[in-house]
Amino acid sequence: MEQRLANTWRMSVNEKKFIETALLADLRVDGRRPFDYRRLTIKFGRQVLEDGSSEVQLGQTHVMGFVTSQLVQPYRDRPNEGSLSIYTEFSPMADPSFEAGRPGEFAVELGRIIDRGLRESRAVDTESLCVLAGKLVWSIRVDLHILDNGGNLVDAANVAALASLLTFRRPECTLGGENGQEVIVHPPEVKEPLPLIIHHLPVAVTFAFFGDGNIVVIDPTQNEEAVMGGRMTATLNTNGDVCAVQKAGGEGVIMQCLRIASVKATDIRSKINSAVEAHNMEKALRKIKRH
């Protein structure tokens, strides 16, 4: 029992009270205003994990996204569609309360929110992943590793997923052989790998509610998450459509939140796009040098 007590992350009463009283005066303990987002940095794999890997830092929070692909048999009911699946990995290094191996309640929720935002809004074109109808399709797997928990894992993980999907390249494959039914997967040296077709970028923005729901802050830190009364994650895409909303407890002004979210989502999206562009540019430049 004692070991378990020693492993849980805990907060003093002083901290909780102070966070609440400071919020009454529109102050947050890290010096931000209620609707300020933390600094977001996106980095991409350089060496071995060349394509489809990204590292996102949102303040203290640190998430790594990693995309892989595999040729599989499609589902019976969708013979000409590839699949996209999201897996989360919560390392005990990120937070002592995360258990190794078994995914916790929050790990499942996080995976579901991101899954709903990306897959059910059809952001990734799955039909273009079909190689041979009914026989072979590409299955895209997104792994999200939580490396450090500083609060608001959902937004950080969502950005990591998007950034790694945007830079991911799958090997090109063609049909050949005697009967034209044999699939040939071309290595990247022979044929340039193909990017995924992504229709729009659903960006998640999380709000935390305090008190009677009249205090709303964006992008809560780990300490604020421990104190908050409720939380809402809105996932908005490029056109301003709401792709998903996840609201866990608490009362709050949803419409106002959505309006703020759409502004923040635009900011985040432009950050992702510029990071991806810079990465692509760098890759192109490196290619020139090699020859």
Binding site: E2, L5, A6, R10, M11, S12, V13, N14, E15, K16, K17, F18, T21, A22, A25, L27, R28, V29, D30, G31
Partner: protein, 252 residues
Amino acid sequence: MDERPLTSPTSFVDHIVVPGDVVLNLSSMANHTIKLGGGLRQDCDAISVMKAGKLRFSKPNKYWVESSQKRYVPCVEDTILGIVVDSKADNFLVDIKGPALAFLPVLAFEGGTRRNIPKFETGTLLYVRVVKANDGVNPELTCTDASGKAAEFGPLKEGYMFESSTGLSRMLLSSPTCPVLEALGKKLSFEIAVGLNGRVWVWADLSSVGRFSVNAASPSTVILVGNAIMSSESLSGVQQRIMVEKLLQRIQ
């Protein structure tokens, strides 16, 4: 550097050392008695390092490695900030960011008797002193100084507590006063309690708000002090003063 022990020509004192470094050779320093602290080990004649950090030397003969980490290794006579986790008949269980929970005997208070056992709810923040830190046993704390007086020890009410690394809290406690606290203290009045286990508590009263921030409520002072301290870890003395100046300008 007159601290440099005469017997060892290549002194590592006050330099960064990593595990495996041999910092002293005993064969060349016969007739010397030296005392080894944390992070050092003796293999025959060689004194080698076991953890990364700065090698420290205190006259006449003490050597140890000082590092900055998130986890606290209890050490006797350290003053630390603990959070009450549970209370038992004889002990309070206190989280000190260490490998094990610490015990605070219910009688370890000034004039403590079975009759007047204090009541602490879970999550109470305590300023305590480590009295026992042995391997394999939970460390023991007390809320009195060596002469049995309450001194400044005991529960901390209100205020705000934040976590730092052990290196940062050691820097805050160093003498002469570290530049960030000095610069802040010139303009603002606040109370601070620094635990060597990497916890810092700050409290500013509304009535004690300094001349330069008449309109500022106490939370803003506390937040400012907290953020100034947290961002000062990797800054030099001059940089710390500039950073504090900038922060103070912003709230004026």
